[in-house]
């Protein structure tokens, strides 16, 4: 088998990796905002749930979380009489999203807290409700602050998708493993694999950079 023949199956795997990355990053982004804002809530119940979520997923290993969702959750479901068997894709997206969301929540919290107190006071003087202040004044200013960290997290997430190959999801790494088993041509395959991940990471970096510029476009106007 010539190395160019690896490309088609690898491309198929890469497409799965791209989808996994996109879905889990979006899920993670949503969770990051929900729990990052939740951690700052004055409602103790919301605050505790948020802190609990963040600590649980940052305090344990992603692979443990993935295995738990895929192998242990169905058994937990069986014990209470619900079918909680997840297809590998769902378990993968869920584990990746929950994990990256917990890290993202800390980023969101930090960025929200970094918005100057002045801004909240001005909003209060203009009689905005706390909710309006958060969503119209504070968060739009916090988002550009979050973006560099979100960019790093998105790349981290892309790399982490490789782990789903361990629950036999046909992503890029999984396909590469299949080919290696078949051809034993480790050097070529893993070199290709590394280069492909590197390329995808560069694309993710560029995309996140564009989003960053878009979110902070008011900062650049006229300068």
């Amino acid at each position: 088998m010539h190395w160019s023949e690896y490309l088609l199956p690898l491309a198929e795997g890469a497409w799965v990796t791209v989808q996994l990355t996109v879905y889990s990053t979006i899920l993670g982004g949503v969770l990051a905002f929900v729990f990052g804002i939740g951690k700052l809530s004055s409602n103790m119940a919301i605050k505790s749930v948020s802190v609990g979520y963040i600590e649980l997923f940052r305090g344990t290993s992603l692979l443990v979380q993935l295995f738990w969702l895929y192998f242990a959750l169905p058994l937990a479901g069986m014990a209470i009489g619900i079918d909680l068997r997840l297809p590998p894709v769902v378990a993968g997206v869920l584990a990746l999203g929950l994990n990256i969301g917990a890290y993202g929540a800390e980023v969101v919290r930090g960025a929200i807290q970094s918005v100057h107190q002045n801004q909240r006071e001005a909003a209060r003087a203009l009689n905005f409700t706390p909710r309006q202040t958060l969503f119209n004044i504070v968060i739009p200013q916090a988002i550009p602050e979050m973006m560099p960290s979100f960019g790093n997290l998105a790349v981290q997430n892309l790399k982490d998708t490789a782990l789903v190959s361990l629950i036999s999801l046909g992503d890029l790494t999984f396909r590469a493993e299949q080919i290696r088993n078949f051809t034993q041509d480790s050097t070529t395959i893993y070199t290709l694999l590394l280069l492909m991940y590197f390329g995808m990471a560069l694309v993710v970096t560029v995309v996140m950079h564009l989003i960053e510029r878009f979110a902070g476009r008011w900062r650049m106007v006229g300068s």
Partner: protein, 230 residues
Amino acid sequence: MLFGFEWDLTNPLNFAISILPILLVGMWVTIQATVLGFFVALVLGLFLAVLKSARSRFIAWPARLVTEFIRDTPLLVQLFFLYYVLPEYGIVLPAFMTGALALGIQYSAYTSEVYRAGIEAVGRDQREAARALNLSAANTFTHIVVPQAVPRIVPAMGNYLVSIMKDVPVLSVVTVLEMLNVAKIIGDRTFDYLVPLSLVGCLYLVMTLVASAGVRVLDTYLPKQGLPLK
């Protein structure tokens, strides 16, 4: 039975208690892999940091590219690469060593940035002051830069130590018997994954909490202005 310990499947609690010693054996492997990987990351990261700050572009740029490449590719794939490709060139390492090496390489990309940021934070003015006092470059580095950079570097490095700990389960793919792998084997044999995997989760929480607390204590005891020199 695993590592000479029997499990007791009469009820979940007994099961959990009976496999705890087995998981602790796995945890010991996890800790060893963490420490060894961290050590490699510290050494290799310093090496990369020095190369990246080299005056010559022909050294600095490739070093930057390598760092970026390491940082942007998955640990799992790097591990596979080392595990399957090194032997083709006659380098045969035990799985555990390969795993620790992969961890060290992956995290050297991060630690090299910590070194660089820590040294840069000491600031040009400090270095210029040292030059004004006619200190040699080597003296400036060891007596001015390092003592001030260390308190900045240590907490960041500590956080990466915790991250490495959470990445050790990846080594299970090359048969390293770390904690998650042990739990998975117990699950495979007993068809009960819930108890062992949940227990691993709890043990991980304990480990990361202890490690993070350790980092915080270290941080509070480090003098912020720099290490005192006699």
